[in-house]
Symmetry: C2
């Protein structure tokens, strides 16, 4: 029904240049003339942490760089591997956006990995935006990039952020100067649209939202500890306790190196 | 803060067997003892259409089958290829769930591909649930699987569903007997939780929602034609007009073969 009865005027010249790339499939990776985006892909990352923002960046016709130490493929939580397009060495020095997706096990390893932390500190010092979704914020923090900033992360590790001299904020997407961090996993969609609006304008972001039909309607209300309640929250924390303890230990060690521990 | 002050009682025996798999990374693909899930991966599919539901299915400890004609990897919209784990031939005959993700170009091709339609018709006739996200519904429809059912799809192709004798419904997730179809791209998250609740129980689905921190908060309200307004909607339709015309032609041809065209 949306195909009928619309004014023909829109057809002429409505943001033609910016709209053309929308859903122009198979032209995305590397083909962008848009912002230069570096996404750190790491072993055990959560594919959905990457896929949400990456979909938005692709629709922004960004120049996508999937970066890791080597170009060997990394495994993800769902068994679909991702092949880096660039190594740390071949990644452009000046990025418009540096992004780290999460995955508790994966980011716990990153916090202990000097090569990765050096890479993040270097590119993060130059990038226009320094960003993360989910536990990716722990890697930014361990690289010293969240010092003196408000930030967020997956709810179950948000209390580790003060170790890195960051102020934890219980919001979906937290913007503090050029640091933009988001909550767990699915927050990557809200994050992606926020970035799209800042880099391409709000109208562009709205078109992307419409294309992705992002009018969320969860069947339940249990997406935060507050809405899920103490019993469900405790169950999840109990099951994740060993991994959370490892993350805390890694964060404390990184903070000690940075000199931000309390 | 959620780590402190919680009753210790939850630790003992709270759904231990069902919670263990949650976020048990690197054990997902093929390792599941849970529902047997067949996900059709096809060239030009939208990775996010797959990644949302797949993340939920993995957390359900489902036995995951990524199925295509051959085991050669298929490309996706964002440039990350996906390798099928099974061919049509090696896919189990009896699936608990058959799922088709979308991607306008990809599903237009599926509607014209007899091998795929035969596979869908065969597995769909036996599967406990027959499902899709986004334009994946067009492939189900072309395989004759939506006859006499209420269904939905990406908003911009929803009006093609009557060609397959399906009744289009403008809802996020539409359940009609064992057919469960969802709207465009991001509807896959709502869909995944709906399926999870049906197959593993509502408490399990709530835990998954909490783990994925699915408390969506889009920065704008433009995820449907109604909320985006006629101008933005018209712009998107204009840019997609050639691909939408191809989809319509393919749907009409498939409907003629099925004998459902009007």
């Amino acid at each position: 029904m949306y195909r009928r009865g619309l004014p023909a005027a829109f057809a002429a010249g409505v943001a033609a240049a910016t709209l053309r790339p929308l859903f122009a499939q198979a032209q995305t990776r590397g083909a962008g003339e848009g912002p230069r985006v570096g996404l750190v892909v790491h072993p055990d990352m959560i594919l959905l942490d990457l896929a949400g923002p990456l979909t938005v960046f692709s629709l922004m016709m960004a120049s996508i760089h999937l970066v890791w130490k080597t170009r060997e493929e990394v495994k993800t939580d769902v068994g679909i591997p991702v092949q880096p397009t660039h190594s740390f060495e071949s990644c452009p020095v000046d990025l418009d956006l540096l992004f780290v997706p999460g995955g508790l096990k994966g980011t716990t390893a990153l916090m202990q990995d000097h090569a990765t932390l050096d890479f993040l500190a270097d590119r993060g010092a130059r990038a226009r935006y320094v960003t993360s979704v989910c536990t990716g914020a722990l890697a930014l923090g361990a690289a010293g990039l969240l010092r003196g900033h408000r930030a967020t992360s997956h709810w179950y590790v948000r209390d580790l952020l003060p170790l890195f001299d960051a102020t934890p904020v219980a919001e979906r997407v937290v913007v503090d100067r050029n640091r933009i961090t988001a909550g767990g996993v699915t927050a990557g969609l809200d994050f992606g649209l926020e970035l799209c609006a800042r880099m391409r304008g709000e109208d562009y972001a709205r078109r992307v939202q419409l294309l992705l039909e992002y009018a969320p309607h969860p069947p339940f209300s249990a997406g935060s500890p507050e809405s899920a309640g103490t019993t469900l929250t405790a169950e999840v924390l109990e099951r994740r306790a060993p991994a959370l303890a490892e993350a805390r230990a890694a964060a404390q060690a990184a903070a000690a190196r940075l000199g931000t521990s309390r």
